[in-house]
């Protein structure tokens, strides 16, 4: 792996709709067509009922911070320039959780329970990463 390039996701058939949605500025989540569970990460079969009738629904894009950590050391050279950076677990209103870096937020602004809203970070032509912003910082 190249030194300066951060680890990039490589979409697979079952996750491709997620990544295509993100590229278009949409946070799409899977919902099981059989048991109605919201799923994350996207996969081929529902981990609750094993159905493969999985649908894609646009998330409301809102959530709160479940937990977070501020990183002071980069385990990969590509993250050095971002230090200190935040890794947060965001709990969406739909009930599932995912990660975010809270771009634009200073570490001291972050707290568990903070409301956040989805935004998007373009990494390259193929990959746009869903991210979340603190709602209190006046982001658009």
């Amino acid at each position: 792996m190249e030194e300066g390039v951060r680890p990039l996701p490589r979409p697979t058939p079952e996750t491709l709709p997620y990544w295509e949605g993100a590229r278009a500025g949409r946070l799409r989540l899977q919902r099981c067509g059989q048991c109605a569970a919201w799923l994350f990460y996207p996969r081929s079969h529902c981990p609750h009922c094993l159905s493969d009738r999985l649908t894609w629904v646009d998330s409301a894009g809102e959530g709160v911070i479940y937990t977070y950590s501020v990183h002071y050391r980069a385990a990969h050279p590509a993250f050095k320039a971002a230090l200190p950076y935040v890794v947060a677990v965001v709990e969406l209103s739909e009930g599932v959780r995912l990660l975010a870096n809270l771009p634009g937020a200073r570490p001291e602004q972050v707290y568990i329970g903070a409301p956040v809203r989805v935004c998007f970070e373009r990494l390259n032509d193929e990959i746009t990463l869903p991210q979340f912003q603190l709602q209190s910082d006046g982001g658009e």
Binding site: P7, P9, H76, R97
Partner: protein
């Protein structure tokens, strides 16, 4: 002790013994391969048991190599009829003891060698956080966000634990300080210099709230055990240590956002099953070895295993309760935090537990130890294994 009049133990309880323990000499490890270190540890364990190599008919190993047990067996000239390279991270060797006990009890083998070794320090292979397949769930949904190492996920758990229960940085530090005090009683420990709460809390932050001294060491090392029938063990020279309770499980695979409650682990279930199999309660355990990859791991495990109430792990370890002289001897070798840590510490939990129950621990001996518990979590809080050992 066990109430044998009313308790009917499940089949494997008390049937097998850990008859031999051994480790590679870490002071002589430089330049050696992980395989070489494993073999040193294996030979030491075989000699410690006082058995002939030819008695070994089962081999268990886990390392970076996919064919771990085959490679080790070939090197040692063993052709086993039972083999297992289960790798669930840190507690793998504990899992191997459970598997060996089941196989021995089923008559599929009678004497098992369980070994582990790594040269992660010399290889500088720790913490690069790179090799995941970019198509894997972690590769797509964790790594791009900079969640690259076990420490990163443990930090998320620690932060949540502090929020949910009021656990403090000082309470995390108590674990590190108490463990160092045990290491000071162990001539083989890597880190023995005095350590204070202030030292730990002032150490460089890595990922909040975890600081450098909340984290286990990075060393080379190898350890091995020999497991055989209790009957065979009673004809050998060492005091007999039997497996009274054993349980394993896994709840997920690394993925932090998928965990409903990051302040607890599957140790709740493995602990309950191990205690039930052994027919004992947490209060009866004399000495405890919990894989201390990070200070928070110990606090969470103490709660999960029932040594204290949910959320009370912080106060439980305060005032050096787990240090020498306290009423809860924990990680008496110095643990992964101060003794050694070649990457997966499970085998070393076994070594220390057995040595304590045999009464071989010298200055760090817990007087009258008859029951020990070993517990590890692996793959970053995803997998668990719990063993309860007893002096025969």
């Amino acid at each position: 002790m066990r109430d044998s009049s009313s308790h009917v133990p499940p089949a494997i309880s008390g049937r097998v013994a850990i008859a031999g323990v051994g480790e590679a000499d870490r002071s002589q490890a430089a330049g050696k391969t992980a395989l070489h270190l494993q073999v040193e540890a294996a030979v030491a364990a075989i000699r410690d048991a006082g058995i002939e190599k030819g008695e070994i008919d089962a081999v268990f190993a886990h390392t970076g190599d996919r064919f771990s047990s085959m490679l080790l067996a070939e090197y040692l000239g063993i052709q086993p009829r039972y083999t297992d390279t289960t790798n669930i991270g840190g507690p793998s060797s504990l899992s191997h003891v459970l598997h060996a006990a089941a196989a021995i009890h089923a008559g599929l083998c009678h004497t098992a060698l369980i070994a582990y070794g790594s040269t992660q320090a010399s290889d500088r292979s720790r913490g690069l956080g790179i090799p995941d397949d970019p198509r894997s769930p972690r590769g797509q949904f964790e790594l791009p966000y900079g969640l690259l190492t076990p420490l990163g996920t443990y930090a998320l758990a620690a932060q949540r634990h502090m929020h949910q229960y009021g656990t403090t940085l000082e309470q995390l530090a108590e674990v590190a300080v108490a463990t160092r005090r045990w290491a000071q009683l162990n001539p083989q420990a890597a880190r023995r210099e005095p350590l204070t709460l202030a030292d730990v809390m002032a150490s460089p932050p890595i990922a909040s709230p975890l600081r450098l001294l909340d984290c286990c060491l990075v060393t080379d090392g190898a350890a091995a055990v020999v497991v055989t029938t209790a009957q065979r063990a009673r004809r050998l020279a060492r005091p007999v240590v039997t497996v009274l309770g054993a349980a394993e499980g896994h709840t997920h695979h690394y993925f932090a956002p998928g965990v409903p409650d990051m302040t607890r682990t599957g140790a709740v279930e493995t602990g309950a099953r191990a205690f039930a199999m052994a027919g004992v309660r947490p209060g009866e355990i004399d000495v405890v070895q919990i894989y201390d990859a990070f200070t928070i791991a110990v606090i969470i495990a103490l709660e999960d295993l029932g040594f204290c109430g949910r959320g009370e792990g912080g106060p439980f370890v305060a005032r050096q309760r787990t240090a020498p002289g306290g009423d809860f001897p924990l990680n008496t070798s110095g643990g992964g935090l101060s003794y050694c840590h070649p990457g997966m510490f499970g085998t070393f939990l076994l070594l220390e537990a057995v040595r304590q129950l045999r009464g071989e621990c010298g200055d760090r001996q817990v007087a009258g130890a008859r029951l020990a518990l070993c517990h590890g979590t692996g793959a970053v809080l995803s997998s668990q294994a719990t063993l309860i050992l007893g002096r025969d």
